[in-house]
Amino acid sequence: MAYERKFKIGKPILEVNNISLSFGGVKAITDTSFNVLEHEVRAIIGPNGAGKSSMLNCINGIYKPQQGTVSFRGQQIPNITPNIMAQMGLSRTFQNLALFKRMSVLDNILVGRKLHTKTNFLEVALQLPKVKKEEKLNRERSEEIISFLEIEDIKDTPVGKLPYGLQKKVELGRALATDSTIILLDEPMAGMNVEEKRDMCRFILKVNDELGTTMVLIEHDMGVVMDISDRVVVLDYGKVIGDGTPDEVRSNQKVIDAYLGVEH
């Protein structure tokens, strides 16, 4: 990309080493390794059932891979759980939307501030001054995110009542509220129309550019992926078949075969 980046792409921040995951006899991921550099936009692509979402679930600790390790900032993490990863500064969105449906947009985003909330329930019950101070800070940050995502007008609506595209935005907002260094986005643009997709791309690039947040995203729309990501890793049948810049990946014969099919 031609423009000057505020946050230069740096050293590997997340490394996935030889991960294998199977469900019973079905192998979802086989011996897969790749890395994510600090401040980059990294895409994971591949046909349906290639193991992309399973990969994110392994990184995030929802699935426990039978083999392989995940390292964060060069440090291998022995016992990954979603909670530990959140505390290390890794946040995510989900493929099938995992919002808190009966809570308002603002409350959903405020839950993302959980790790910046240090007061306990007793202090909250008594509404001590420090609780009010903390709540005020968290609310201010959440309002900032809400205006950044341009969803001010729906902030008090229960998310269950919102259309799909807006829910995806709220989910991104909740991930942003954690102030994480890495955000994993599982199909952030699935089911969106062209305009919504363009908006979402703009937000992803803006977050990456302004805050330097490292973005790892799974996406089906090849055009979008090639436009916004710095590097792309291609999975097929649970194996890496291509890894590199969009241009490299585009000219990779294996990738072309996987997407277009080969003559047998």
């Binding site: 995030n60 929802i62 759980t81 979603p82 909670n83 990863m85 959140a86 505390q87 946040s91 995510r92 989900f94 995992a98 919002l99 808190f100 449906k101 009966r102 809570m103 409350d107 405020l110 839950v111 993302g112 501030r113 959980k114 790790l115 909330t117 007061t119 329930f121 909250v124 019950a125 008594l126 509404q127 609780v131 009010k132 903390e134 709540e135 005020k136 968290n138 909740r174 954690t178």
Partner: protein, 355 residues
């Protein structure tokens, strides 16, 4: 206007003032019959408090639990033993400590919620109901080796002053309930409540945001049991004025569950509405039986009819308004507001046309 608490809006403060004026000034001036205090207002406050406990674990945290009466029994018998054996603690101190003892049981019986959910958790929490009652029956120490089975509760003495008249006991219940309701509201609206609801709505996402499922669920069970324990102590000392394990059987647990669901899951005011409805409904039916049918209907039939109607109502609410009576009340207010504003617009229009 700067609100007293940040979490309270002006509307809340108005509601609070109205409730306080009503319960502190108007009720004591106009209601003189003891029956109202001893049979309706005091049990209402106690059961509403227990229902808030049930709301915290079921309405807010989404954990199906059925054992509120067990925790109430723990609170009540803890209170009896504390006053008997540690008199220095005083009434208020004993009340707090008995709540804490119930909370310890809550933690113990909340642990299964980490592994089982839904209807299976409900069955697992039933253990608390039966275990606590069994423990009190089995070990004579809890009842101070009283052979009669029913122990008279000690008189309530706060700061050397006895609180023995129905009105005085009503004020004791009112004070405790008000304070604990405000605290519950603060928690429900603050970060604590958000964690509870996040676990209820989508636990995997909550965990990915750094909410610990273990801590949040166990915390909800502990706080819930604390509320039930305090409610149980008040129930025994102000309403029953005696202690017997049978008073805290599974039927009471179900009653609290019904109050919670009919009142509206996930609301604090629903606890009060639900408790009032379930307590007043039998009274109303009896009054109808006596005054309309002049005793032609047998009392046992009336109580059967009561069960039938409760059952029907549960089904109807589950299908048509899962958010309960609190939601109906909100809707009603909304409709009245709309009617008022539309009539105002009409009035403005007609006056404009007349000019």
């Amino acid at each position: 206007m700067k609100p007293v608490f940040m979490t309270y809006t002006r509307k809340d403060l108005i509601n609070l003032t109205v409730c306080m004026v009503l319960s502190v000034l108007i009720i004591p001036t106009f209601i003189k019959t003891e029956y109202w205090y001893t049979s309706i207002l005091i049990p209402w406050l106690c059961l509403a408090l227990a229902t808030i406990g049930q709301q915290i674990v079921m309405g807010y945290t989404g954990q199906l639990a059925l054992g509120a009466a067990g925790f109430m029994a723990a609170g009540a018998f803890a209170m009896f033993n504390l006053i008997l054996r540690v008199p220095d603690l005083g009434f208020v101190g004993s009340l707090i400590v008995s709540g804490l003892i119930a909370a310890a049981f809550g933690i113990l019986f909340g642990l299964p919620s980490l592994k089982v959910r839904g209807i299976y958790l409900m069955v697992a929490t039933l253990a608390s109901q039966f275990f606590i009652i069994w423990m009190i029956d089995k070990f004579g120490w809890f009842k101070n080796y009283d052979s009669s089975g029913i122990i008279t509760a000690q008189d309530i003495v706060i700061l050397g002053k006895p609180f023995t008249t129905p009105l005085a006991m009503y004020f004791v219940c009112l004070a405790v309930t008000t304070i604990l309701t405000l605290l519950a509201m603060n928690m429900a609206r603050g970060s604590t409540g958000r964690n509870w609801m996040a676990v209820r709505d989508m636990d995997i996402a909550a965990e990915s945001m750094g909410v610990s499922l273990l801590r949040t669920k166990v915390q909800a069970f502990a706080i819930s049991a604390f509320y039930c324990g305090v409610a149980g102590a008040l129930f025994a000392f102000c309403y029953l004025k005696s202690l017997e394990p049978v008073a805290f059987d599974i039927k009471l647990s179900f009653k609290i569950l019904f109050m919670c669901i009919l009142g509206g899951l996930g609301t604090i005011n629903g606890a009060f509405i639900g408790a009032a409805f379930i307590l007043l409904f039998p009274v109303l039916l009896n009054a109808i039986g006596n005054n309309v049918f002049h005793g032609a209907i047998d009392a046992t039939i009336i109580s059967s009819i009561e069960q039938v109607i409760f059952g029907l109502l549960m089904i109807v609410f589950m299908i048509y308004e899962p958010l309960g009576m609190a939601k109906l009340w909100e809707n009603l207010k909304q409709i009245i507001k709309l009617k008022l504003s539309s009539s105002r617009i009409k009035g403005a229009k007609s006056s404009a046309l007349n000019k």
